[in-house]
């Protein structure tokens, strides 16, 4: 029993430290939101990629960056209703 508790604690520590670490009950929404947030962070973190998108959209890089940041708030819409 103690072992199980410890594993649980370790997992929680990991989940706290590394965002996106899954658990047994990860929902599709959690998972896709996590992937989308990772992608948006990568788009703005790699300067050539941000530049590429800005040229394509005909706007400044700062605006594209804001768009990426804003999209990270709720990338896949609100979580679906859960049945209690």
């Amino acid at each position: 029993m103690a072992d199980k508790l410890r594993t649980q604690q370790q997992l929680e520590a990991l989940q706290n430290k590394y965002i996106g670490t899954g658990h047994a009950d990860t929902t599709k929404h959690e998972w896709t939101s996590n992937i989308a947030r990772d992608s948006y962070a990568s788009f703005q973190g790699h300067p050539p990629l941000l530049h590429y998108m800005s040229v394509g959209m005909g706007q400044g890089m700062e605006r594209t960056r804001m768009h990426c940041m804003e999209s990270m708030v709720l990338p896949c819409g609100p979580a679906p209703q859960t049945e209690e």
Partner: protein, 1246 residues
């Protein structure tokens, strides 16, 4: 089988590093310079640069000089600089993808960057929660904060200890779960505890609420993080909600200089916020004009602060996304103690309009540096700080009566943008970003032996087609025809050695055996009564022993003493002088009888001959004596070239005259020899080099051993088809060589790298015959005989190695295609979210009609007005409008007329995306331009109620030698067209997932074949024979075979196992494709042998047509042959050769302005040698910013089959010890390793 090389290996080199700036800051890193004399520390791509602004006495010439640059082999994300109290120079901080913070210093003695600290705080790579996205440093130099896009923030406290070493604390973290960080900045708190401000949004509530109400109610917080220096920790000290659209923060000066706090820049408004003061708000003025949307809100994209510590005054310069600069000042009210600490009002004044900056810097010397997002970075001189409030009062706005509550509405303010008023352009930093497409092609093979690089660059109104050539630009000063006589030699002489200018110019012609003497004064004119011999051709002319002018001609030596007396030495009977060379004291002649005659000149200017006249093994063709070393009378060696393909080094010292020292065999007859002493970059000492030109057009350079006279370190380069002739010159105070073959070349020590560089001179017209230095009061340059004219020119800049000419385009270029028969390019251009010409005209005439009612036009001529309006529009950029497209197709003659010859504007919201010149099988005598377009496209955002995007293919007939285009017809498609290409006398078109083959008809294109090939969107098609390589936007490349009539089937037979987001592809051969993707990778893929064989079977009865797909794709998978992370997004890739007679290689160009090559290795030993060298250099010198090199080059996929040449070239910059160690490890000499590294580049490129 073990020795069979199964994979092709490449050697990757960068020709021009990326020019797009990622970050920049001002710094005082060079010790000994004044505080005012700031430098610029800039990051571009993976390199860091330290620039210095050099201005001449009266500030008329300003230059941005790169003091030091280094490739960090990592993605640099931010830089900052700060002064730790008590230290002499600024610390530089680099945040990169290494998960480490790097503290760097500039080491002025070694002229390199020195790493002080490297602290790990997270994983490597660019991740959501690893700090590095944002970087801010305390204005008092006490700590630095790094933040990530989500959750993590880390603060390092930096100090100086008693031993004057810089110490860095352990990281202090300030993390908050589910918290997004939009911006950070450092507050100016004086000497109180440092505070960092951050814009944050918490998303935990929004995410867990299924109703979406929490999402709507989300707030953006301005959070203060106080770094408690006493307790050594970071605390969240204050937070408050701000305007939700806020995107940027600027720290307001504090302490004695101002009220502290931050400027929060949001969409349409700027707020002043602080925990100890009332908030203020001012709207960002919008542009006025008939074509401007009055409702469009701007955001601030860049800004800088000016703080005068002496007067406690400050102001901000803030730039909007349109490029308009505003000066923001704050008026402070007095508090109870009479101190000016409470801000009561903000005032904004329109300043000027600049290109949109990534980072804007104000330099204390009086400049504004715009590290431009697109196009050349620019340095502006500040002429006026717009202090006069009466000037343009309509452009002055204040925060009075504006509520600081973001929920409340405000009345927008408007201004009219104009040309530069307060500033003037001081320097332009050449850049190639954004590089949309390149093509290497030789459009004028009859005139130029090397191909040119045609580059589409820029966005919007600043788009250009650049013609790039490897070479130095020359500034022509005089070019005057010389008449009929074919002159073949030119000598410029001083009258006395102490003169600073040249007095005589001798032009000699062997053809008519004559010399023309010109006197150089205010003008250059023929001298009638010169002391020189004019009835003979001059072999050599020189000033010897300070005052004696010596002229060598075929029949003797003519020396003119200072007194005017003339001494003549006649050549021995039946013999003529064929070659001669002299220095200050020694003169060596080669006679037609293969004998040498040697002279020494005494102080009186009298030549005394050595009695011995040794005979050489063959006819003497050329010779060169060494330059007289400073402070000595004699040079040690002379080099004699004979027609038996040898050169001999002879001693010419008086005690051992004409004693042979060494012999070297050559591949051809030497035609020209020069012995020049140049600085050796490694040791910094002067070394004698012998430069040899051969009849085969080769050029050799070797070092003469100072003691033994042995030749060593031979470097070879092929210059052109003509025999090479060499002429010593002086470039920027250093000895150099002009080598004339079918093109003139300049050999010099490069001012930045210090390496000996050979670069062609870009000249119009005939090749050079001869050249010499030319210095007068007005001109300091070179003089050359070019064909039948005399050319006097100077070299304005020897830093760059690419000469460029440009033709202005109208919109952002998307693609280009070359006319198959004439040197004409067709460029398709499109700007998203921009008003089209037609719409704009409509708006303008509507506006003008209104204006006309009010006042009649004054008598200004319409055309003049138009021209001004055009220039203004180019300066300000086009009017923007969401969902609109402006697009056109242009034909450009880049060589003769150097201008646009035809323009076709597209209407109805269409955007041209791709083009190809097609010669249809059914209309062989005509050429057509196929242009793929998209209509009603909405990149990035879907507008509510917008029409579904459609596509068209326009066909234009090319007339008038390709200079004009006539619309034939346009064919509609269901989706935008991103790829068209000629295929088997027809045209292949990619429509979303379908590949279609069309023939031309009378009213529309006629479909011949159709195949559904890729899963998402076809973005590029390349063809060879009946095979097509089709690139998908996200699913790599699929190979398709076309089975011609009667089957007319397109069969995809190989695809890839990795999802590559392809941007550019090219077929290397029938079975191999090379390409690049959006994440900055370069790859080479190959079709498996069996698949290739089966695909080529006749008809559709064979195996391939009936084969079942494997795992939902094609039956076979491509094999990965090479993979390399280049960081920049490749926009073009091409198999070509870059120099005359050079091996073929893979040339690629990237969006950020990178141009690079992949050179295929020919020999297996080379692969082994260079991979070993790469490994050793990697171990010897770890990248500066702390990224692991191998991890970096294998960012997404492990690097395969590519040796990083840029890293190998770091070998040349290593210290002597390190070089020796590595050379020992590879069992070669240092010189040999250097030669191999240099030759790898110089053999095929530049």
């Amino acid at each position: 089988m073990a020795n069979v090389q199964t994979t092709q290996a490449f050697y990757s080199l960068t020709l021009s590093p990326p020019s797009a700036p990622t970050a920049a800051c001002t710094t005082n890193s060079i010790p000994g310079l004044k505080n005012q004399d700031q430098q610029i520390f800039e990051a571009r791509g993976s390199s860091i640069y330290l620039h210095y602004i050099r201005e001449n006495q009266d500030k008329t010439e300003v230059k941005m000089e790169t003091v030091c640059s280094q490739d960090c082999f990592g993605i640099i994300r931010g830089v900052t600089s700060f002064r730790i109290p008590g230290t002499a120079t600024d610390q530089l901080v680099i945040s990169s993808d290494s998960g480490r913070i790097a503290l760097v210093n500039y080491d002025a003695t070694k002229k390199s960057f020195k790493r002080i600290h490297l602290e790990t705080f997270g994983k490597s790579g660019i991740r959501r929660t690893v700090p590095g996205q944002y970087l801010a440093s305390d204005p008092r130099g006490r700590c630095v904060m790094l933040a990530s896009a989500e959750k993590n923030k880390v603060v390092y406290i930096v100090n100086r200890n008693a031993e004057a070493n810089i110490v860095i604390s352990s990281p202090h973290e300030a993390n908050s779960w589910a918290n997004l960080c939009f911006a950070i900045c450092a507050l100016d708190t004086g000497w109180e505890h440092p505070v960092f401000a951050a814009l944050e949004v918490e998303y935990a509530d929004a995410e867990s609420d299924p109703s979406g109400a929490m999402y709507v109610a989300r707030e953006k917080q301005l959070v203060y993080y106080t770094v408690d220096l006493g307790l050594n920790h970071v605390v969240k000290s204050w937070s408050d909600a701000v305007d939700y659209t806020a995107n940027m923060l600027f720290g307001v000066p504090g302490g004695q200089d101002g009220p502290s706090g931050v400027l929060v820049c949001a969409e349409g408004r700027i707020y002043y916020r602080h925990d100890k003061a009332e908030p203020l708000c001012i709207p960002i003025p919008r542009r006025k004009g008939a074509t401007e949307d009055p409702e469009r809100k701007r955001i601030i994209v860049a800004g800088c602060l000016h703080l005068s510590k002496a007067r406690h005054e400050f102001f901000f310069l803030l730039q909007t996304e349109d490029g308009d600069l505003f000066k923001l000042t704050m008026e402070l009210g007095e508090d109870a103690q009479g101190r000016k600490t409470t801000p009561v009002r903000m005032v904004m004044k329109y300043y000027d309009t600049f290109p949109v900056a990534k980072t804007m810097l104000l330099i204390r010397k009086g400049y504004i540096y715009i590290a431009a997002e697109n196009g050349n970075s620019k340095l502006y001189h500040v002429n006026d700080l717009a202090d006069n409030l009466d000037f343009e009062p309509e452009n002055l706005f204040s925060s009075d009566d504006v509520s600081a509550d973001p929920a409340e509405d405000y009345t927008p303010t408007y201004f009219t943008p104009r040309q530069l008023e307060f500033t003037s352009l001081a320097a332009d930093v050449p850049g190639l970003h954004p590089l949309m497409r390149t093509r290497v092609e030789n459009l004028a093979p009859e005139r130029e032996d090397a191909p040119q690089i045609y580059a589409l660059q820029g966005t919007g109104a600043n788009s250009v087609l650049k013609t790039l050539r490897h070479g130095l630009e020359i500034q022509e000063i005089v070019s005057s025809p010389l008449g009929e006589m074919p002159y073949d030699a030119v000598f410029a002489l001083k009258h006395r050695a102490s003169d600073s200018f040249h007095s005589y110019l001798l032009l000699s012609t062997a053809y008519s055996d004559r010399t023309t003497v010109l006197s150089i004064g205010d003008e250059v004119e023929t001298m009638e009564d010169s002391p020189f011999m004019t009835a003979r051709a001059t072999v050599e002319a020189r000033l010897m022993a300070s005052t004696t002018l010596v002229q060598v001609h075929a029949r003797g030596v003519h020396s003119i003493l200072e007194s005017g007396a003339v001494n003549d030495w006649p050549a021995p009977e039946h013999r003529t002088i064929v070659a001669a060379s002299a220095n200050d004291r020694q003169l060596l002649l080669g006679l037609s009888s293969s004998e040498l005659a040697f002279f020494f000149m005494d102080d009186n200017g009298v030549l005394s001959q050595l009695e011995e006249m040794p005979e050489m093994s063959g006819k003497v063709t050329c010779l060169g004596v060494g330059q007289t070393p400073v402070g000595q009378q004699q040079a040690k060696f002379a080099v004699v070239g004979c027609d038996d393909n040898t050169i001999r080094v002879l001693s010419i010292e008086l005690d051992t005259p004409l004693e042979a020292r060494s012999v070297q065999a050559l591949s051809a007859v030497p035609t020209s020899i020069r012995v020049v002493s140049q600085t050796d970059p490694a040791s910094g000492t002067n070394v004698s080099y012998v430069h040899i030109g051969l009849a085969s057009g080769l050029y050799l350079r070797a070092v003469i051993d100072d003691v033994t006279g042995e030749l060593g370190e031979v470097r070879t380069k092929f210059l052109g088809a003509r025999p090479t002739r060499l002429f010593p010159v002086e470039v920027e105070g250093q000895q150099g060589i002009v080598a004339c073959s079918s093109r003139p070349w300049l050999g010099y020590n490069h001012p930045n790298s210090g390496l000996y560089t050979l670069t062609p001179l870009v000249t119009d017209g005939a090749p050079f015959v001869a050249a010499c230095p030319f210095v007068t009061e007005q001109v300091s340059g070179l003089c050359a005989v070019q064909g039948d004219s005399l050319l006097i020119f100077s070299l304005p800049n020897i830093d760059g190695r690419l000469a460029s000419q440009e033709v202005a385009l109208r919109y952002t270029p998307r693609n280009m295609s070359r006319n198959l028969w004439y040197p004409i390019w067709y460029v398709v251009e499109a700007d998203g979210n921009t008003l089209s010409q037609g719409t704009k005209k409509g708006l303008l005439t509507a506006g003008a009609a209104k204006a006309d009612e009010n006042e009649n036009m004054n008598g200004i001529e319409a055309s003049e007005q138009d021209e001004d309006a055009l220039a203004l529009e180019k300066h300000l950029g086009y009017s923007r409008a969401k969902g609109h497209w402006a697009s056109c197709i242009q034909a450009i003659d880049p060589l003769t007329e150097r201008k646009v010859t035809a323009t076709i504007e597209l209407e109805e919201n269409e955007a041209a995306l791709c083009c190809a010149v097609v010669n249809f099988e059914s209309k062989k005598e005509e050429l057509f331009l196929a242009v793929g377009t998209g209509q009603h496209m909405t990149p990035g955002s879907k507008l509510p109620g917008a029409e579904k995007p459609k596509g068209f293919v326009h066909m234009y007939r090319l007339t008038n030698d390709g200079k004009k285009m006539e619309l034939v017809h346009r064919t509609q498609f269901a989706y935008p067209i991103y790829a068209v290409t000629p295929f088997q006398g027809r045209v292949a078109i990619g429509v979303k997932t379908e590949l279609l083959i069309y023939d031309i008809g009378l009213k529309a294109l006629l479909r011949k074949s159709r195949g559904i090939i890729v899963p998402n969107q076809i973005v590029a098609i390349e063809t060879k024979g009946l095979r097509l390589a089709v690139a998908d936007v996200s699913e790599s490349v699929t190979f398709v075979v076309f089975k011609p009539s009667p089957h007319n089937r397109l069969i995809g037979f190989v695809d890839d196992s990795i999802a590559r987001w392809s941007t550019a592809i090219t077929l290397l051969d029938y079975e191999t494709v090379a390409g690049g993707d959006k994440f900055g990778n370069l790859w080479v893929l190959r079709v498996p042998e069996q698949a290739s064989r089966e695909a080529d079977e006749e008809g559709v009865g064979g195996y391939i047509a009936n084969e079942r797909g494997y795992l939902g794709g094609a039956p076979y998978r491509l094999e990965l042959r090479s993979h390399f992370f280049a960081q920049d997004i490749p926009t073009a890739i091409q198999r070509t050769s870059l120099v005359a007679g050079g091996q073929e290689l893979l040339f690629w160009s990237g969006l950020e302005g990178t141009m690079g090559i992949l050179i295929p290795f020919v020999a297996r030993e080379d692969v082994e040698f260079f991979s070993q060298l790469e490994g050793l250099v990697r171990a010897e010198e770890a990248p500066l910013a702390g990224r692991d090199h191998l991890m970096y080059r294998g960012y997404y996929v492990p690097v395969k089959g590519v040796v990083d040449g840029d890293l190998c070239e770091r070998f040349l910059r290593l210290g002597v010890d390190a070089k020796g160690r590595i050379a020992g490890e590879v069992e070669r000499g240092v010189g040999e390793v250097e030669r191999k590294v240099l030759e790898m580049r110089s053999r095929v490129a530049f």
